[in-house]
């Protein structure tokens, strides 16, 4: 797949864009953990157009892991969904950019997130709805491995497997921060419910893109992007 976004920014510009929100302080792990997958999604995978963010044919990206959205905001700004100047207002009174993204305020943001365990169930319904409407757009939802502590995710992933939602992809950023861990790996939790799974280096753009664009007929896809453990 090719993305429809264009940008005058490169991956190398992202630290500077994020610094406009956080200053010189070290970026929070929750923000940097998602950076490479987000960049790969928006630059190489998703069919989205910042000039037409409501296009019915667009792929849908749902950031369920709404904590630490600086990387998300930087990537959206880099791809032209909103002016980079907005980053300077981060969390200020009247800013559109809070500590959790709000779909009512930010172009290109599909869901307002923050409370964990909501994105995957909504993504399941969205994928079902798009299929019902014969819309071939993909639905991609990003979660974290610790977010899977929330039981609502386990309700949803069973439904997705049973309904063979092959246009649904879940990306799990795995920084091994789940309180009690996932014996056998988080991918196993998906595979037993009928999902196709890929486990990749969450910093390797080529590997991430390959996993996100592979065939998985009649099965939803879970891509576990493993990164350095949360410190």
């Amino acid at each position: 797949m090719t993305a429809t976004t264009t940008t005058r920014y490169t991956y190398a510009d992202l630290p500077a864009l994020m610094a406009r929100m956080t200053g010189d302080e070290k970026h929070q792990p929750s923000a940097t953990s998602t950076l490479d997958v987000l960049w790969t999604l928006y630059s190489r995978v998703l069919h989205v157009d910042p000039r037409n963010p409501e296009d019915p044919a667009r792929d849908r990206f749902l950031l369920s892991k709404g904590h630490g959205p600086m990387a998300y905001y930087a990537v959206l700004a880099a791809h032209g969904f909103f002016p980079a100047d907005w980053l300077d207002t981060f969390t200020g009174y009247g800013s559109k950019l809070g500590l959790h993204p709000d779909r009512a305020l930010i172009p290109g943001v599909e869901i307002s997130s923050g409370s964990l365990g909501h994105g995957l169930p909504m993504a399941v319904g969205l994928a079902m709805g798009l299929r019902t409407r014969r819309n071939p757009a993909r639905t991609v939802v990003m979660t974290g491995d610790a977010e899977f502590d929330e039981g609502s995710n386990h309700e949803a992933l069973v439904i997705a497997g049973a309904h063979e939602l092959d246009l649904l992809t879940a990306v799990v950023i795995d920084n091994q921060s789940s309180t009690h861990g996932w014996p056998g790996g988080i991918a196993r939790r998906f595979s037993v419910e009928g999902w196709a799974t890929e486990t990749v280096d969450g910093r390797d753009h080529d590997e991430i893109a390959r996993a996100l664009t592979g065939d998985h007929p009649q099965r939803p896809l879970a891509v576990v992007a493993v990164i350095e453990p949360k410190g």
Binding site: H118, P121, M122, M128, R131, T132, R133, S152, E155
Partner: protein, 301 residues
């Protein structure tokens, strides 16, 4: 009411390609035929109520008009954060239809009772709340809701009134005019209120739609500033609405309804009605006592 809900919803699905039903293992047989005709638009998620609301929200994101349905406590209370965030915070529309009311299933005990559902929804903005008292009203509310894109809660009950009285515009219906207090009977409480007040000089308003609350009609019919609320859920749920409507008037209010925690009784719903003073005799005793204490000499229209 449940059968009418399923029949009307199934017909609406035939006529409108955007309507989808999300179930959580309840009322499956009622939708079996619709599921055969519309396999992608009748979805049983199993006993997964959080995912039921989340999936309904996702369907709304895709442009569908989802109807989610199960027992009251599992529709409103268990997935309340999903109702709050996946629907409300996302600014998405959906129709939630419950069965079981406050204590229709008395044999199951408090785990299956939900007297606080409307009060909980009152903490969220933008909900239209219907408490139908007759199957015809269920159909009317559903047909209107299906054509809109708002957030609608329809609370079904095993109790029904003899006749439908709902107005399609959501305004309260004036059923009896008197010179004393005004009694607001919500949904399936109506028949009991009419019987309990048959020889009392009171006004009776029927309220099958409680949100938005029709303050204008209440204000218009008020003969004296004394109001009795008779709600089939947590007593006083609409008390603040009455107070807002009459904020410029000294007024009296009697709020009747269920307690926060239903009694540890089984038996029948009628047994519970008696326990909470919501049977005809209990209502008559409390309404007549309240109405007899009239101290407002002048009309307020």
């Amino acid at each position: 009411m449940r059968s009418r809900f399923a029949a009307v919803t199934s017909r609406l699905m035939d006529d409108h390609e955007n309507i989808a039903v999300v179930l959580a293992d309840i009322s499956i047989s009622h939708f079996a035929a619709a599921a055969r005709r519309h396999p992608h638009r009748v979805v049983n998620v199993g006993i997964r109520e959080q995912a039921m609301i989340g999936a309904a929200a996702g369907m709304a994101l895709a442009g569908l008009r989802p109807i989610a349905h199960t027992y009251t406590p599992f529709l409103i209370e268990r997935p309340f954060e999903q109702v709050k965030l996946d629907l409300g915070h996302q600014e998405l529309g959906a129709i939630l239809v419950s069965v079981g009311a406050s204590y229709d299933e008395t044999g199951y005990g408090y785990t299956h009772h939900a007297p606080g559902d409307v009060a909980l929804l009152d903490t969220l903005p933008g909900w239209t709340v219907h408490i139908p008292g007759h199957p015809d009203e269920v159909e009317s509310f559903l047909r209107i809701a299906a054509l809109n894109n708002n957030r609608v809660y329809i609370r079904l009950s095993a109790h029904t009134n003899d006749k439908p009285h709902a107005r399609p515009d959501g305004q309260f219906t004036l059923l009896r005019s008197g010179s004393g207090a005004t009694v607001v009977a919500v949904g399936p409480m109506l028949e009991r209120v009419l019987a309990a007040t048959a020889d009392l000089d009171v006004t009776v308003l029927y309220a099958p739609t409680v949100r938005p609350f029709d303050a204008a009609t209440l204000r218009y019919v008020l003969a004296e500033p004394a109001v009795v609320l008779v709600e089939p859920y947590l007593r006083g749920t609409s008390a603040s609405k009455v107070s807002e409507a009459l904020s410029d008037l000294p007024h009296r209010l009697l709020a009747l309804g269920t307690p926060e925690h239903t009694a540890r009784l089984y038996g029948s719903p009628s047994d519970h009605d008696i326990e909470y003073g919501l049977d005809v005799a209990g209502l008559r005793a409390r309404i007549s006592s309240f109405a007899a204490r009239s101290d407002a000499p002048s009309a307020v229209r």
